[in-house]
Amino acid sequence: MNLALAVDRLQFAFTITFHYLFPQLTMGLALLIFIMKTIALRTSDEQRRDRYNGAARFWIKIFAINFVTGVVTGIPMEFQFGTNWAQFSRAAGGVIGQPLALEGVYSFFLESTFLGLLIYGEKRLSLRLHWLSSLGVFAGSWISGYFIIVTDAWMQHPVGYRMAANGMIQLDSLRDLLLNPWALWQYTHNMIAAVVTGSFVVAALGAFYLLAGRHESYARTFVRLGVTAGSIAMILLIVPAGDQQGRMVTENQPVTLAAMEGLFQTVQGAPIALVGQPDTDKLQLDNPITIPKALSFLTFRRWTAEVKGLDAFPRDVWPDNIPLLYFSYHIMVGLGTILLAVMALSLWLLARDRLYTNRPALWLLLLMTPFPYIATTAGWMTAELGRQPWLIYGVMRTAAGISPHVSSGNGLFTLLGFLGLYMVLGILFLFLVWHEIEHGPEKLAEGAA
């Protein structure tokens, strides 16, 4: 791989990975804040209304810090298509520019308007209008997610386009582009994962306050809301979302499936590997622990179905980093399983009214906080490494998409700049969120916006 290409890929990978730590909480939390405001609006119990309004007010503070970090790290994403991937943009801009512009026009204006009202407007707006603002922010952030997924889905599974004689890729049907079947499942999978992240964060903070013996009534609200929403989301995440997303890969990117599963040889009744290290020299999985025939069943619903291994495909369409792809996928699935188990246990204890006082269970919830983030990141790495060596699957190779005149030196300069800046940003973010947590929901109680 030439150095400029490596730097361009690293910079995009790093900036998008860092960026997406924030929107996943934005989108998950937007739904949960909307739920809090809805409960506050609908209840006739004054104490309950105050508690849910107070809870929303506290989470809006965290949301605001998270949101602005997501915004400032998001702007470079759109720009990098042009700065670092000029040949790709020139060829495909007529197609993927559409969803990116749609996102700006239909979601960011909505989101930013109502966020201003949500943060600054509680004293100026009626309860109903403030509730409406939370709906606006929720809708804006979720619409934004859809357009971005449409963009990525088109790169994973291009539809609604046609190749012009001059090498430009032209839009043929906006409808097909927006209703790409890949996008529908990827969106479902991704948004539910965002709700999982939001739920775990809310529940974990509640658990932290309970363990520390602070803000007890708010803490119980956080735990109850987080565990309830998180349990529902965890199940939907696996069935139907994850399962159907897997089927999209099976049908459209069989070579990616083989690499994800570490399946080097085509077999009937393929096993699924739980643990093992892919050895790309000997073309085998070292130290495998497998469930026989499970992969055949999961992908084709038949125990004896044939699953194509990497050997069924020419080497030049193999994903170019098979071990990382394999581990990303296995980390996502492994952490997902752990998160499901923790949510199930917490829900069971919650239903029996024992969760709030069960310290080991609260510790478990608290310690889970990084895992939804890691699982989501690993999931995205699976999708994007799985797409390699293609930039647009089957249409344009990654190496053909970079900017022709941006040298590796200039690329490295900006990559290092982003690394340094984002490190500072990450530290500041954690510091400020910690500051708000220390401050707690109690002191915000009376309408101090």
């Binding site: 602005v68 400032v72 759109e78 700006g104």
Partner: protein, 342 residues
């Protein structure tokens, strides 16, 4: 159809400059007009609910340019690689400065963000002005439609120049002066005394600089880019844009009374719109002139997406932007009126 999209992209850019322009300007004057912590909070509160929405115009405008003129997006963004990346960094510093400052009230914390807010705003104004200067001057496009410019070389405004040469530095300084005035007028309109008086008097003084800069960049632009005079000669109705510019500039001068803050600010908006539309009119039908060989220039014809995309784009773009204008109107009305010191 291409001409229509040229106009729409120009409107998006003008919308961005007018709107984000005043909050950039508020950043530039922040340390000059606000002394105490309470006063600084007023300046920040005057843009707090709206700055993010204003910045969306940049993203939406960028996206619009991306799908309507993909070749322009690819060529200009990769060619202006270094300054654009630095702009992104400045936008990051500025965004977090605005939002992070008021979370902690400490004399060790707030000055960091006041400084970041001011300097990032100031440098962004200079970069935006220089960017516009680069587009008017032209860039060394090669036969494949790409180029790459270093930040600077010998500072001569020729095809061997970098991003910064004497001409683009001039446009950068002009943008800085203009946005300083624009931001000061906004802050004057939104603030109580004594911030109002400081901002208004700053705007009055900077106005002379804006006049000088307008004269200088007009003369320099016509000298450097012969296409401009050809355009105004072949379509004299285009003089309406410079007339808007001058009317706006005169309006700012005339509306000095404390009660005339809104007309003064709107005059400043008209001035900005006039300057940008004059430049867009003068460059049309080029998008990015080539300083190497005029035949290599990117034009609305060779850089546009094909007609289906442009047609279907129109169907969602117009209603979407009307909706955006409704949101903006709602926000500005909700948060209208002067702020008060606590």
């Amino acid at each position: 159809m291409e001409t229509l999209w040229f106009c729409l992209v120009a409107i998006m850019i003008a919308g961005y400059v007018v709107l984000d322009g005043f909050d950039l300007g508020a950043g530039i004057v922040h340390l000059l007009v606000a002394r105490s912590d309470a006063e600084k909070r007023i300046v920040l509160a005057s843009i707090g609910p709206v700055w993010d929405g204003n910045e969306v115009w940049l993203l939406a405008g960028g996206g619009t340019m991306y799908f309507a003129f993909p070749a322009l997006y690819a060529s200009s963004f990769s060619g202006f690689y270094l300054p654009l990346t630095i702009v992104l960094w400045l936008l990051i510093v500025r965004g977090i400065s605005i939002e992070f400052r008021n979370h902690i009230a400490s004399p060790v914390w707030t000055p960091i963000w006041d400084t970041g807010f001011t300097w990032a705003s100031l440098l962004l104004a200079v970069f935006y002005g220089a960017a516009l200067g680069n587009v008017v001057r032209g860039v060394p496009l090669d036969a494949s439609g790409y180029f790459f410019l270093p930040l600077w070389t010998d500072f001569r405004a020729r095809s061997s120049a970098g991003i910064l040469d004497w001409y683009t530095i001039l446009t950068g300084v002009a943008a800085l002066l203009t946005l300083t005035m624009h931001g000061a007028l906004w802050v004057a309109m939104k603030s109580p005394e004594p911030i109002r008086e400081r901002a208004a008097s700053l705007a009055r003084r900077v106005w002379w600089g804006v006049v000088a800069a307008t004269v200088a960049i007009t003369a320099a632009s016509f000298a450097i880019q012969p296409h401009l005079s050809e355009r105004f000669a072949e379509a004299p109705w285009g003089f309406v844009f410079p007339v808007i510019t001058l009317t706006g500039l005169l309006g700012v001068f005339l509306c000095k009374a404390p009660r005339a803050e809104l007309p003064a600010f709107l005059s400043s908006c008209a001035y900005l719109v006039g300057m940008l539309t004059s430049a867009a009119f003068g460059v049309y039908p080029l998008l990015l002139p080539a300083s190497t060989d005029p035949a290599l220039s990117l034009t609305i014809h060779n850089a546009a997406a094909e007609s289906y995309g442009l047609r279907v784009g129109l169907a969602w773009f117009i209603p979407g932007m009307l909706l955006a204008v409704v949101y903006a109107t709602f926000t500005y009305r909700r948060f209208s009126g002067k702020l008060h010191l606590e």
